[in-house]
Amino acid sequence: MGISVEGANKCFGDFQALDDVSIEVPDGSLTALLGPSGSGKSTLLRAIAGLETLDTGRVLIDGEDVSKKPTQKREVGFVFQHYAAFKHMTVYENVGFGLKIRKWKKDKVRARVDELLNLVQLPGLADRYPSQLSGGQRQRMALARALAVQPQVLLLDEPFGALDAKVRKDLRTWLRNLHEEMNVTTIFVTHDQEEAMDVAGQLVVMNQGRVEQSGSAADLYDKPANEFVMSFVGEVNRLGDDFVRPHDIEIVRDRDDSTAEAMVQRIVALGFEIRVELVLGDGTEVWAQLTRSELQRLELREGQIAYLRPVHAKSFNGSAPSNPLGPRLPKGPRTVATRR
């Protein structure tokens, strides 16, 4: 079921959580709402679920305006960051809760719960209480509980936010596979751009209650609409009005017209990737991303002088791009995007 939100506004006191937000989520897609905390992404998700009412604007699920419908009637599955496990019920009772409310027969509930516990890889834990599960297991239980009632859409609010890094990674791969299997329209909220790019087919970047840009991960990374998207999705160096990705900074040993002089401050080895932190003549700090072999070829050392060349720079102020690394650096392809 496709979801659309049209002109959504929501204030909490003086704070404008949603500022004229419109989004389109295609049927069967897996969409991420990405943004820093306070950007309104959770409020938007909760408004779709009916857990918040919009001041103005509409929510449509499968073309039907559900703005006036209570949560109970929207047929959405909702998963919370802190699991919202019914702690006084066993895993079985948790997963079967929605079915019991729908007055399913006992044996049908048993069959459905067993099926779901297998799906979320928690077989044999039906009689446990949530307090006896790890965080990752609790979240999978919560997901099974949401899926049990066969919701039209699945909404996940920072589902992996309370989990440690290793579990997060496993679960997001698992979620992606699950989505491919179930094919239910899914929206999930995250502040982690890597997680969003890894899991989702479509991303909606939000900031200060507004949608900054939406599109595929590649679109956002290669064609960011504005400074915010450029710096929030992927790493970036800011040089005056220009933005350069760290992997778009080339380090060379010999000076020429297209290079700027910089001193190597620090070399950080992060496995295959090497992070080289440099400082330019005017004191601006930049960092460049190299591979291990590039570093070996350049024989860089901390404290040494090196020459930088931006391969690709981007400016959002609409004027002709200035030279990101100083007057001696006129060359290199660059793109100009107009501010939205």
Partner: protein
């Protein structure tokens, strides 16, 4: 441990026991036993001894005499009614104080404790002013059995409110939202989600209120009086002492004590049952075999 553990309402298994500074465990226990003995156990033993001083037969005839039996039955029935009323209204008051916002909320919150702070004889006077023969609203219930219930409601109100309030404050609101998203309406959410989580606190509040109601003296004394049909056990005891029947007074006291103990026992069992999901976590920590038995998902055990 994951970040959530810090937020979990379930206390983690404690790492080591906290001790009073500068006091060894032995000395600490000694002080507790001495204190309890001096103020609780020895007086109780003396009371029991006194009540049985003329034999078990005499004890029995004292507590089963017409007036003694009636006074015990009366206070038991009144206490049960009062506790039932307070369980409902105490929960509603706690609910409003936690979930609702209304002008004067903090004043109401402070007033709840008034029956705690007030000398109960004053409570009795207050109630007579409103519901006595000079009642400004024209309702005179003084010296009736209804007056007993009203007086007991007044003095036991804070117990349930104060026991339920912290549980409501700490309750995870997302549980209710999750239930709503699964299709549960307001009443179902209360019955299946909120109530089971309030039960331990409600039980504790009810137990305290019941125990307090059983022995209430001051607030009942003036308002309900000590007529034969409104004489509760505590007033009967007072009367027996005045007329020199100390053994009879002790015997009825022992029965009251037994009723309070049975009540506490039942409530403890309800609480244990209501919080079984929290206890099971401790078992888990203490029993690595159970933990090890978890199929799948072993990669992410806390």
């Amino acid at each position: 441990m994951e970040a959530h553990a810090a937020k979990s309402p379930v206390a983690p298994p404690r790492a080591r026991q906290l001790r009073l500074p500068g006091v060894g465990a032995g000395l600490g226990r000694g002080v507790v036993v001495l204190y309890l003995s001096l103020f609780v156990l020895l007086p109780l033993a003396a009371l029991l001894d006194n009540s049985l001083s003329e034999g078990i037969g005499h004890f029995w005839s004292q507590v089963s005499s017409g007036q003694a039996k009636r006074s015990l039955e009366l206070i038991l029935v009144c206490s049960l009614i009062v506790v039932a009323i307070n369980a409902v209204f105490g929960t509603i008051v706690a609910w409003l104080l936690v979930r609702d916002n209304f002008p004067g909320k903090s004043i109401v919150n402070a007033i709840i404790d008034l029956p705690f702070a007030l000398p109960t004889i004053v409570a009795s006077l207050i109630l007579i002013q409103l519901w006595g023969n000079k009642s400004p609203v024209g309702i005179d219930i003084a010296l009736t059995r209804t007056a007993i219930v009203v007086a007991l409601c007044f003095v036991t109100l804070p117990f349930v409110v104060r026991a339920v309030q912290p549980l409501l404050i700490e309750m995870d609101r997302e549980m209710e939202e999750a239930a709503a998203s699964l299709g549960a309406g307001g009443f179902t959410i209360f019955r299946r989600i909120i109530f089971p989580n309030l039960l331990p606190g409600l039980a504790a509040g009810v137990a305290l209120a019941f125990a307090r109601a059983l022995g209430e003296y001051g607030s009942v004394l003036l308002f309900a009086g000590g007529k034969p049909d409104t004489q509760v056990a505590s007033i009967f005891i007072g009367q027996q002492i005045e007329t020199g029947n100390e053994v009879g007074a002790s015997a009825v006291s022992i029965v009251l004590l037994a009723m309070a103990l049975v009540c506490l026992l039942i409530i403890t069992l309800i609480q244990r049952w209501g919080s079984r999901h929290e206890r099971s976590q401790v078992n888990l920590a203490a029993n690595p075999v159970i933990t090890g038995a978890a199929p799948q998902g072993g990669d992410e055990r806390e």
